[in-house]
């Protein structure tokens, strides 16, 4: 008689927020433990590991995403206050930031345009459908901002959310190799570049490398959120004309 009882408990729990909220934290901490065990190796990104584990669990148990999200939304909600919290490391690095105003502004504009135009160009050349292209355009900025932009330019916001996270993971994984290959050693430059291209997931990675890289990455993420909100609609209008 044990099996039906377990089944009953499963039916009860699987429909409630607690289980999926808990599993989200467990999956992330499991991913993080693996990441830490291998000396924070960029290829073992904890977000990617957690997503794979959770998608596998949901698929095997036949649980719809909406049921999962009813629980996980409490974690999702914290994106807002965490974004506000970026002001604190930003303030701590303020003197360094002020000294670098022109290089930061220049890198922001060039980097933001590169992120938008290159994904549109490459995607278009490879035959990606229009609705997907529009959802890809704001891929380098943090989830809430990117979803807002996608909605405005005619993309699919929830698809954008997924593409944003794919971008963040790619950036966190590749940054070390790209920046090492270019011989860039300065942690403020490394952090800023990662923040422009790979928003919060890149910023999380940067904070694990150093406080300085993290602060510059957080700054870049905030600035590129604003820059992309302004640039993406304008660049798309230009794209359609050409």
């Amino acid at each position: 008689m044990i099996t039906p009882q377990i089944a009953d408990i499963w039916v009860y729990l699987s429909a409630r927020p607690l289980l999926w909220l808990t599993l989200t934290l467990v999956a992330y901490q499991g991913g993080y433990a693996i990441y830490r065990h291998f000396g924070f190796h960029p290829l073992l990104n904890p977000v990617a590991l957690a997503i794979v584990a959770l998608v596998g669990t949901l698929a095997l148990s036949g649980t719809p995403y909406q049921t999962y999200f009813d629980g996980a939304q409490f974690v999702h909600f914290l994106l807002g206050p965490a974004t506000v919290a970026l002001a604190v490391p930003l303030y701590a690095q303020f003197d360094k930031l002020r000294a670098l105003l022109v290089p930061l502004g220049g890198a922001l504009v060039v980097g933001s345009v590169t992120a938008i135009v290159s994904v549109l160009g490459i995607g278009w050349a490879l035959g990606v459908a229009d609705a997907t292209l529009l959802s890809l355009a704001p891929k380098s900025v943090t989830t809430p901002i990117a979803m807002g932009i996608a909605e405005k330019i005619g993309g699919i916001p929830s698809l954008t959310a997924v593409l944003v996270i794919l971008t963040g993971i790619s950036g966190a994984v590749m940054a070390k190799y790209v920046l090492d290959a270019l011989g860039i050693a300065d942690h403020s430059v490394r952090g800023f570049a990662v923040g422009i291209a790979a928003h919060g997931i890149g910023t999380a990675r940067a904070f694990q490398v150093s406080e300085q890289a993290g602060a510059f990455s957080g700054l870049a993420m905030g600035l590129n959120g604003a820059a992309t909100a302004l640039l993406a609609p304008a660049l798309l209008a230009l794209w359609r004309v050409l």
């Binding site: 904890p46 977000v47 957690a50 959770l54 998608v55 949901l58 995403y65 999200f69 996980a72 939304q73 914290l78 807002g80 206050p81 965490a82 506000v84 919290a85 002001a87 604190v88 490391p89 930003l90 303030y91 022109v102 290089p103 220049g106 890198a107 590169t114 992120a115 290159s118 994904v119 490459i122 995607g123 490879l126 035959g127 990606v128 997907t132 809430p144 405005k152 929830s158 959310a161 996270i165 794919l166 971008t167 963040g168 790619s170 950036g171 966190a172 590749m174 790209v178 920046l179 300065d186 490394r190 800023f192 570049a193 291209a197 919060g200 999380a204 990675r205 904070f207 905030g222 604003a226």
Partner: protein, 121 residues
């Protein structure tokens, strides 16, 4: 910790209100971040509980992206014919954006150093 959390939520709320009142194209939390930054600047220091809470939150910032990322299961079918082009476009574009931003910033820093050097001579 509760005080710091209240501060963060309060600034987010203020950010949302400003965005709606002024019809800004940026999300509320980003404006909240700017407002908090300005407050810290005006105050001249960051209170310790706020620093602790912020650094704790940001250390695991990437956890917060997991719920939206699991949404990939909903979209996998929609984009099933485009998975490879999307992957290539995202990977190449992200690597390019990192490289171009870093090179631009480094170049601008060197230009300025060169200019300062000239001025001193």
């Amino acid at each position: 910790m509760i005080g710091a959390l209240t501060t963060l939520l309060g600034y987010q709320l203020a950010g949302e209100i400003v965005v709606h009142l002024l019809a800004l194209p940026v999300p509320g939390p980003v404006v909240g971040m700017v407002l908090l930054f300005l407050s810290l600047w005006a105050r001249g220091s960051a209170p310790e509980p706020l620093r602790d809470t912020a650094s704790g939150m940001l250390q695991h910032f990437s956890l917060l992206f997991v719920p939206a990322g699991v949404g990939v299961m909903v979209h996998l079918q929609r984009v099933s014919g485009e998975v490879w082009p999307i992957l290539v476009a995202v990977l190449a574009s992200t690597a390019l954006a990192i490289a171009v931003s870093a090179l631009a910033m480094q170049w601008l820093i060197r230009m300025r150093h060169a200019a300062h050097g000239d001025a001193e001579r």
